[in-house]
């Protein structure tokens, strides 16, 4: 285990050290202490390493992640896991706004709550939140899955494409063109797999599926007022 004290090493030197790890590195376990809410911690990683941040992080932690697993033992600031491509991010506390925005792949797990715009414009990432999520989540979500074990805020899935949303609790309101959908066998299987991967014990049958009604895909003059 390599331990980096961020207050001594500094952000650039620390991220450089992590960037230097390749697919063949034998230094696969890293621990970052004294994060103190700093921005861009463990951003742009591209190696099969596991980084554990001992404390809360600021903006854009683990952004653009590929292959790596990043554990945050605290709460995460805005834009955590932005544009994640692959790998896994596990947040023990809460996540701030626009978690996993534009994420293309991989998985993000939040043990607490996620704030507004969670999974905005998601493009393939899987996000599993044990608590609640805020308003405008998965706005324009294109693909991937957003699983919420608690409640969702206003305007869930507004103008979404083919992203799927599974919510166990209540949804304060659905966004434009987002609708409740039937939970078929394939969805139960998919959801069970996501919950297992996230390490969260919940019964898939208690969830409701939401997704695109596909009425905004093509221009319809009757919708002109909605633009």
């Amino acid at each position: 285990m390599q331990t980096i004290d961020l207050s001594e090493t500094g952000l650039r030197a620390m991220n450089k050290m992590l960037h230097e790890q390749s697919g063949t590195t034998n230094q696969t376990a890293w621990e970052i202490v004294n994060p103190k809410g700093a921005h861009a911690i463990a951003c742009g990683l591209d190696a099969p390493i596991e980084v554990t941040v001992k404390g809360s992080t600021g903006y854009y932690c683990a952004g653009m992640n590929q292959q790596a697993t990043v554990n945050i033992h605290g709460s995460a600031g805005p834009g955590t896991g932005e544009n994640i491509m692959s790998g896994k991010i596990v947040i023990e506390g809460d996540a701030s706004q626009y978690l996993g925005a534009t994420g293309h792949g991989g998985m993000i797990v939040v043990k607490g709550n996620a704030s507004s715009r969670c999974g905005i414009s998601m493009k393939g990432v899987n996000i599993v939140v044990q608590g609640n999520i805020g308003h405008m989540s998965a706005f324009m979500g294109q693909s991937g899955n957003l699983v919420v074990c608690g409640d969702a805020g206003d305007a869930l899935g507004d103008s979404c494409y083919e992203a799927r949303f599974f919510v166990r609790g209540t949804v304060k309101s659905l966004g434009a063109d987002c609708e409740k959908k039937e939970m078929r066998e394939e969805h139960l299987t998919l959801l069970q797999g996501l919950l297992d991967e996230a390490g969260i014990d919940a019964d898939p049958s208690e969830f409701t599926r939401y997704g695109s009604a596909r009425t905004l895909y093509n221009f319809d003059v009757d919708n002109a007022g909605a633009y």
């Binding site: 103190k36 809410g37 700093a38 600021g58 903006y59 809460d94 706004q97 507004s116």
Partner: protein
């Protein structure tokens, strides 16, 4: 961007350290805005007396002998404590209007008025502004601070936050208001004094106007959600405490922490990391379109009361 910090002390033993704690929090937020910085601090009141913070770009000439002129205007002794470009006037209660008139004639700007509130703000980085006014040495019950990245108006002292609204009330803002020009015209027609082209001053004037018409601070903040167009996270200071409100979209960040000793606000968690007991504090983000308030007074007055 812009950075906001706020600290409301529950533990009286921390009061001598309020300035030091708040200054450290504000300096951490420097890279959210390098243009100007300001701090509002509530240092406790004196019976029968009230305070004004005034500012001049040429303090040596402006403040020299000022207490004599003002004592004459008030008809009672006025004392003055000069701190760099600012001066705190200790004036008899009820003489605020007379003193303001005398100051207007002398071309001296009023930064704040109230029994407990003092506002210090200038162009420059938080660390420089804090050093200029010895903010670390100040004690008090609660305070708020702001570091500005200017978007809607010029980088000037008067465009710096916090803005004084009513007596002992002030406002800091992260965001930008888009309907400030029309609202400024409307408020000026209603007789509200607005000095600059700054959007936040309009927000502050709006709250003043609402409260002059009988709204509580909580009601004024709630109606601001309907009447102000744009992005905002506001922190509002009053004699007894502070309030927080975010617009319904809530793009502008806000983090709060509470322990048995204090309630703290920061634009980012970074601002809070050196507070005592932060590791075990309750840390959360204030909900959008929700008014939060903390008060030292268990039975706040109509203007001090939130919701």
């Amino acid at each position: 961007m812009c950075g906001i910090v706020g600290l409301f002390l529950k533990d009286r033993s921390l009061e001598p350290k309020l300035g030091e704690m708040l200054t450290a929090m504000l300096i951490t937020m420097t890279d959210r805005g390098p243009d100007s910085a300001g701090i509002a601090i509530y240092g406790g009141e004196t019976v029968g007396r009230t305070k004004m913070t005034v500012q001049s770009d040429s303090p040596q000439t402006a403040f020299s002998g000022l207490e004599v002129v003002l004592s004459k205007a008030a008809g009672d002794p006025v004392s003055i404590d000069v701190k760099s470009t600012h001066a705190i006037l200790d004036i008899p209660a009820g003489s605020t209007a007379k003193i303001r008139e005398a100051l207007d004639n002398l071309g001296i700007r009023v930064m704040s008025r109230g029994d407990s509130l003092e506002i210090y703000k200038e162009v420059g980085l938080p660390k420089d502004v804090a050093a200029r006014f010895d903010l670390v040495d100040m004690s008090g019950t609660h305070g708020i601070g702001h570091t500005r990245m200017a978007t809607e108006s010029a980088v000037t002292t008067m465009g710096a936050h916090p803005f004084n609204t009513g007596d002992d009330q002030c406002l800091v803002h992260n965001g930008s208001l888009s309907n400030h020009n029309s609202l400024r015209r409307k408020l000026r027609r209603e007789g509200i004094h607005i000095e600059t082209e700054n959007d936040t001053e309009v927000g502050a004037a709006y709250l003043t106007w609402q409260m002059q018409n009988g709204a509580t601070l909580g009601e004024a903040l709630t109606s601001s959600l309907d009447d102000l167009d744009g992005f905002f996270t506001f922190v509002v200071g009053t004699k007894d405490g502070f309030g927080v409100v975010r617009d319904p979209i809530a793009c502008k960040p806000a983090v709060m922490a509470e322990t048995d000793q204090y309630v703290a606000f920061g634009s980012e968690y970074r601002a809070l990391v050196d507070l005592p007991g932060i590791e075990t504090a309750r840390v959360w983000e204030p909900e959008p379109a929700t008014v939060y308030f903390w008060s030292h007074n268990n039975t706040p007055s109509a203007t001090g009361k939130a919701a």
